[in-house]
Structures are given as structure tokens and as C-alpha cells.
């Protein structure tokens, strides 16, 4: 072991930090599903794109910087450190795009990737359905193949970025006769096609940005399938792993939340119990960060770890929730009060962050699903009875 960034990595960090500092937006943006907020985000995205910082981890041939995993981690740390806006095309950059890179044809890559980079197309993920959440393989949206077309029917839900998205990558059932995990295909299609209806869903902390998507006889070309037809379950694993993956600077955000808690503990007089709880959360933040680094090291060496992403996702959501719960508890009766609602009626940051941490225990696979993965794939325990 040697815990030391190389001189090149330190130099890269300074360069990224300087650029982000120089170019960062000064005001907090409105939510991206408001007209003003969308324009603000677009302007920032264009600036990142022109500087080559839109997708640092993507290969240079498709418009990225081709950075290795450690440089990506440094970039994400610096991005998070400055509290910069959430990326507009997160689902395309982190999930859809990399899946197309891993499994798509050259034509698909040429057709789709540039639009993700310059945000001319905003992507969203169509996995969950009203009847298929934790049990994703029970999804019922159909894709009926007729000649060179596929006809989609069904409903997707909990769709992040749904209201602003123009493209969806989705799992649809292309062979209804096949067993659960078989007969599913991974498709990418345009949400502006006839038969698509996107209804925004407001989240409990006031944010919209969520949607349910109804698909009624939506005709898409057969060339929309990524990877082989009926092999979508395997293709989707790439996306799911990325979603639970190596952090994206979340350890930095965790440390920022911790800093806020430390200030609140100081302001409240730093009693022993509060200091102990803060100390414990600080310890776990350190451990979380080190586990993130260790997994980055494993992956950077070409290794694999199927279980660690689930361990990290589980612990992240628990540590994050504990930090924000403690923060609210420190405020006593002030905790519930709200001075002013944000655009679209969203709650102020401390409430938003708290509720967001609660959401984190649910999305990208609930913590119970993560524990199944840890127990079954990690510890080799017998599987749940399943259909």
C-alpha cells in the first residue's frame, strides 16, 4: 500500500481546480425542469463541453478526455468540492452512454454519444415500472418486433430527468414466452415519438424532475436495440453496476455534510453525546472514502469486485441519512421550520438533503436488495425463494 497521489495526478488536480474555479457559475441554479433553470444548466454544460470536461472518463475518440479512473475520481472530487450544479445529462453520461460504449454498434455510438456530450439530447432511464421495482425482472412493458420496427406498449415510472429528457434507454419484453430474465431487450428511443406521454411526478421534498412515462403503440426502428435482442438483462447489468459504482465524488459530498454538522454541533455547545455521534460519523466517512479509493484501485488494475458497490451504496445511504438526521436533531424545534420555499415549492437545502438521503436508501436498488446481493453473492448464502 502507498497512499500518495503521483505528481502528475496532483498537477491534474490543480489544473481541474483552477479551471472549475475560474469558470464556475456564481448563482445557484433553478431546477432544470423550469425554463430559466434549464437555460442556466445548458449554459454551464456548454462551457464544460467546449473545455472537454463534459465526460472526462469517455474515450477521446468519442469526445471524452480518456482519463483513467484515478483522474476521474480527482475530477469528481474537485467538482463536488466546489458544490457545482448536478449534471443535466447525468443518466446519459453515467449510465446510458457507457452502456452504449460497452455494448453498442459503431453506428449507435456515432448516432447517440455526441448528443449526450453537448446535451442536445437529454437521456433518462426506463427500468422501473409500477409493478416492477425491486423485482425488476417482472417488468411488463412490451416491445413487439414486426419486421424492421419494434412497437412499445407499457408504463415506466420513477424516471429521473423524465420531464426534460428527449431520449430514453429502457428494458422492454421482446419475447413474452421466454422466462423472466430472458426475453428482455435494451432499447434506446426518442421520447418525442407519437404515443409517448411524459407526466411529471413531484417528489416529497418538492422537487419535480421525476416522471412517469406512458408508452402506447410507440413505433421505433429495430436498430434501437443495444446488444443482441433478448439479451437486455445482461446489458442492463452494466448500467446497474455503474449506478451503484465508484462514488462520483459522493465521499466529498459526505465530508461536506459532515462539516456542516460539525458547525451545528459547535453552535449548539458541543455536548459530549453530540461530539461522540459526530466523531463516529466522521470515522465512517473516512472509512467510506478509503473503501471508495480501494475499489478505484482494484478497478484501475483491471480487477473486478461485484459486491463492493453494494456495500458502498448501503453504507453511503446510511451514513448520509445519519448525518442529516443528526443535523436536524441539533436544531431542536427550529428543525421543522422553513423560511422560504424554493422555485417550484421545493424545500430549503437542509430539508432537501435530509429527504434526499432517505431516497438514497431506496433508489438504485433498495438497501434490502443490496443486502441480498451482499449476502448471496458476497457471503454465498442460499438464495431467497424466487419465481
Amino acid at each position: 500500500m502507498e497512499l500518495e497521489f503521483s505528481p502528475e495526478q496532483r498537477e491534474f488536480r490543480s489544473r481541474v481546480r483552477a479551471w472549475l474555479r475560474e469558470n464556475r457559475p456564481t448563482a445557484r441554479f433553478d431546477p432544470p425542469d423550469t425554463e430559466h433553470g434549464f437555460a442556466q444548466h445548458m449554459q454551464w454544460e456548454k462551457r464544460l463541453f467546449h473545455a472537454g470536461y463534459a465526460a472526462p472518463g469517455w474515450p477521446a475518440e468519442v469526445g471524452g478526455l480518456g482519463l483513467d479512473l484515478w483522474a476521474q475520481l480527482i475530477y469528481e472530487e474537485e467538482y463536488a468540492r466546489l458544490g457545482l450544479p448536478e449534471r443535466l445529462n447525468k443518466m446519459g453520461l453515467l449510465h446510458g452512454g457507457p452502456t452504449v460504449l460497452a455494448h453498442g454498434t459503431e453506428q449507435q455510438q456515432r448516432d447517440w454519444l455526441p448528443g449526450i456530450l453537448d446535451c442536445s439530447e437529454i437521456w433518462c432511464q426506463g427500468f422501473s415500472e409500477p409493478g416492477a421495482g425491486s423485482d425488476l425482472a417482472s417488468l411488463r412493458t412490451t416491445g413487439t418486433i414486426t419486421g424492421d420496427e419494434i412497437i412499445l406498449n407499457g408504463q415506466k415510472t420513477w424516471t429521473s430527468a423524465g420531464p426534460i429528457a428527449t431520449k430514453m434507454f429502457a428494458l422492454v419484453r421482446t419475447d413474452p414466452a421466454a422466462a423472466r430474465h430472458h426475453g428482455i431487450s435494451f432499447v434506446v428511443f426518442d421520447l418525442r415519438r407519437p404515443g409517448v406521454e411524459v407526466r411529471p411526478l413531484r417528489q416529497l421534498h418538492g422537487h419535480s424532475g421525476f416522471a412517469e412515462v406512458f408508452l402506447t403503440d410507440v413505433r421505433i426502428p429495430a436498430t434501437s436495440v443495444v446488444g443482441p435482442v433478448n439479451d437486455g438483462w445482461r446489458i442492463a447489468q452494466t448500467s446497474l453496476r455503474l449506478e451503484r459504482g465508484v462514488g462520483r465524488g459522493v465521499h466529498t459530498k459526505l465530508a461536506q455534510a459532515l462539516r456542516g454538522l460539525a458547525e451545528a454541533v459547535q453552535d449548539a455547545g458541543a455536548d459530549t453525546g453530540a461530539l461522540q455521534r459526530l466523531g463516529s460519523l466522521r470515522a465512517w466517512t473516512f472509512a467510506y472514502e478509503q473503501a471508495t479509493y480501494a475499489l478505484t484501485d482494484t478497478l484501475a488494475r483491471g480487477g473486478a469486485d461485484e459486491v463492493m458497490p453494494s456495500i458502498l451504496k448501503l453504507r453511503l445511504s446510511e451514513i448520509q441519512t445519519a448525518i442529516w438526521e443528526e443535523r436536524l436533531a441539533m436544531l431542536g424545534e427550529e428543525a421543522e421550520t422553513v423560511d422560504e420555499l424554493g422555485p417550484g415549492g421545493e424545500l430549503p437545502p437542509r430539508h432537501r438533503e435530509y429527504w434526499h438521503s432517505r431516497a438514497n436508501e431506496i433508489f438504485a436498488g433498495t438497501n434490502e436488495i443490496q443486502k441480498n446481493i451482499i449476502g448471496e453473492q458476497g457471503l454465498g448464502l442460499p438464495r431467497e425463494p424466487r419465481r
Binding site: 497512499l3 463516529s280 466522521r282 472509512a287 478509503q290 442460499p382
Partner: protein, 385 residues
């Protein structure tokens, strides 16, 4: 960045595991409860042959000039095997403190014997009442409020104190008036000694926790109720998964803290404090969950689980426990722009290199050791690397 142990460190771990499997099986550990010292002389001899007591001793005094990180695998393995010896004191904190704080003359007198394993050590932080393994130690180092003193065995009176863990041997130590030798750099070196105790006891705790979880997983795979292995029930599986997530992260924090101590990194001592907290909390959870998932069988004296359960509880509460370290961690300044501990450490401009020459030496040491072990017939099957 590199989060992997070196080939030498991994080979060392494999050798240590073999020594413990042979010399510290659960049956053997039970036998030792009723012996006078409670300690196995052959186990110590094997560790000495491995060079373990020499790791933290500088080369000029016959040691290997290694680091806290080099010893980390051994301490994890000692938890895994439930070895009762005071290794955190005897192999890590004690030798390192002598090397840092003793005069040249004192070092020349004590350290060669320590490195060979012929002179055993124990150590107690200031404020500690019970000193482990003082009865088998030739040198007893006591941290006091104002100074650190080293006593030879005949300079102190020992009174045994019974532990709930039948393998632990604790003593109150009363020095004869005017006896002992002062370590001139002792006071200044005490906080680093405490950090080594934090990281080292953390490694023992995560090793204990890993083994408890392994025993539990093995048990719930074969124990059937309602016509199914109980490990297939989420109520059981999720307990073990939760504890695994804590232990996995705690292990990472302990190894990183050990590495940062070895690198003499700024904030390494904070990292050790944080690692101790994670290790205690993770072991606490593994302890709770492993008895719960064993059910009634785990509560019997015959089953081996309680060896680990009791050691775990003892190691949680020893060394200042958890609450005071957690309070201190709460008081650490959130310096830096966002309070990420390691980004501060790693972001500094002029790296300080670790002073380890162990890797070069140890390869040969291990080879010699392998030959020795084979000669005395301790090892069957493959030779140690």
C-alpha cells in the same frame, strides 16, 4: 495510489496464518486456559522465527526496520485465530516506543533481545490500570502522566486480575520504589504510541469480526428450520450482510491508518483514531449478529464462538474503549476546505517517504523461516512463500 499489500506482506500473512493454525487452534486455546501462564511458548518461538518481534525494531539493533503496515496482516490474523497474547503491545507499540524514545545505550541493551524474541515486552498507556501479559514479559513499559518508564520483571510486583475472557491475562503492576529506567523521549512519543494501539487493536478487532462472521455464515448455511437453511431467510441474511458492510469498511480504515502511520503522513494519528472507532463499532455489530444467528448453540460453553465473542468485548472496552475516542474524533478540527481527511493528507506537495527496508530483507527472512519451519516439521504441504 496503491491499496494492495506487497507480495512480501502477503507471504508474511500466509506464514503467520500457518503458525496460528498449527499453534493456536481452538482446542489448543482451550487447553491453555488452565495452564500456569496461559501462553504457548512454541507459538511465541514460531513468531520469533518469523521475525515478527523484529519488524518494528530498527536494523542497527538487529531488527527489520519495518513499519506499522508490515505488522497489520499479523494483527488481523491474530484476531482471526483468537490468539490471546498481547501482540499489539509486544510487537507494535512496545518496540516502536523503545526505538523512538530510548537512549542509544538503552536501545543497545534492550532492542537486540526484543528483535530476537528472547525478551518479551508489554506496554500500558497512561491511565490504564490493567496490563496484559505482564507475567510473561521481560520488560514492562508504563506510560505515566509525566514520564514513561521501563521496568524489568524483578522490579515490579504483579497481581493478577481475572478477565471475563479466560484467555486474557491481566495484571496490576506495582513498581518497587526507585526502580525502572526513564525513557527520555517517552512523553513526546506517547501520542504516537497511542495511535499504534488504536490502529493495531483495530486490526485485531476486524480480524476477530471477520472470523465471527465466517463462523456464522458457515452455520446458517447448514442449519435448517422450516425446511430451509436459515441463511436463506432475509431476517438472518440481512443481519450478516449489514455486519459485513461495517466490517469491510472498518478493515479498509484500519489498513489505511496503518499505512498512513507507516508513511509518517500528517493527520495519520487522526486516521488511527477514526480507524479504532470504526473497528470497535464493526466488531460490536459482528459480535451481536454472530451470537444471534447462531442461536442457542452459540450460547453454549462447548461451542467455540464464545472465545471470539469474549475477546471481542474485551478488545472493544480496552484501550480507552469507544466513547472517549469518539468524543475526541468529534473535536478534531474540520480543517481544509471541506474536511476530507485524506485529501488533505494526499494533496500535500512534498511527500514524506516511509522508512521501510523490510521488503528487501524480509523476502530472505521468510525464506529462511520457511526452511526452519520445514525442518522442525511444523508445516505440512506447501512451503511458506
Amino acid at each position: 495510489m496503491n491499496y494492495e499489500f506487497t507480495a512480501e506482506q502477503q507471504a508474511f500473512r500466509a506464514s503467520v496464518r500457518k503458525v496460528f493454525e498449527h499453534g493456536a487452534s481452538a482446542a489448543r486455546l482451550r487447553q491453555l486456559w488452565d495452564t500456569e501462564t496461559g501462553r504457548a511458548a512454541d507459538l511465541w518461538d514460531d513468531l520469533s522465527t518469523l521475525g515478527a518481534p523484529a519488524i518494528l525494531v530498527p536494523e542497527e539493533y538487529g531488527g527489520l526496520g519495518g513499519t506499522e503496515l508490515d505488522l497489520c496482516p499479523l494483527l488481523e490474523e491474530s484476531g482471526w485465530a483468537c490468539v490471546p497474547d498481547a501482540l499489539v503491545e509486544g510487537l507494535l507499540a512496545g518496540p516502536a516506543l523503545l526505538a523512538e524514545a530510548a537512549t542509544e545505550e538503552q536501545k543497545a541493551k534492550w532492542l537486540p533481545g526484543v528483535a530476537r524474541g528472547s525478551s518479551r515486552l508489554t506496554f500500558a498507556l497512561p491511565g490504564t490500570r490493567y496490563v496484559p501479559d505482564a507475567h510473561v514479559s521481560d520488560l514492562i513499559i508504563l506510560g505515566g502522566r509525566d514520564e514513561v518508564r521501563v521496568y524489568e520483571r524483578d522490579e515490579v510486583a504483579l497481581a493478577p486480575v481475572r478477565s471475563m475472557d479466560p484467555a486474557r491475562r491481566l495484571f496490576t503492576v506495582t513498581p518497587r520504589p526507585g526502580s525502572g529506567a526513564r525513557l527520555p523521549g517517552g512523553r513526546a512519543a506517547l501520542s504516537r504510541a497511542e495511535s499504534r494501539i488504536h490502529a493495531g487493536s483495530g486490526a485485531v478487532l476486524t480480524g476477530l469480526a471477520e472470523r465471527m462472521l465466517r463462523m456464522s455464515v458457515d452455520h446458517v448455511k447448514v442449519r435448517h428450520q422450516f425446511g430451509r437453511p436459515v441463511g436463506s431467510f432475509q431476517a438472518v441474511k440481512h443481519l450478516l450482510a449489514q455486519a459485513t458492510s461495517l466490517v469491510t469498511l472498518a478493515t479498509r480504515s484500519v489498513r489505511s491508518a496503518s499505512c498512513l502511520l507507516a508513511q509518517r503522513a500528517p493527520h495519520a494519528q487522526d486516521a488511527a483514531l477514526l480507524a479504532r472507532i470504526c473497528a470497535v463499532e464493526a466488531e460490536f455489530e459482528a459480535n451481536r449478529v454472530s451470537l444471534q444467528t447462531h442461536g442457542g448453540i452459540g450460547f453454549t460453553f462447548e461451542h467455540d464462538l464464545h472465545l471470539w465473542l469474549k475477546r471481542g468485548k474485551a478488545m472493544e472496552t480496552a484501550y480507552g474503549g469507544h466513547r472517549e475516542p469518539a468524543r475526541r474524533a468529534g473535536l478534531l478540527p474540520m480543517s481544509g476546505r471541506h474536511g476530507v481527511l485524506t485529501t488533505q493528507i494526499l494533496g500535500r506537495s512534498s511527500p514524506i517517504r516511509p522508512q521501510s527496508r523490510l521488503s528487501g530483507l524480509c523476502g530472505n527472512g521468510y525464506m529462511l523461516l520457511g526452511v526452519c519451519l520445514l525442518l522442525v516439521g511444523l508445516v505440512t504441504g506447501e512451503a511458506p512463500a
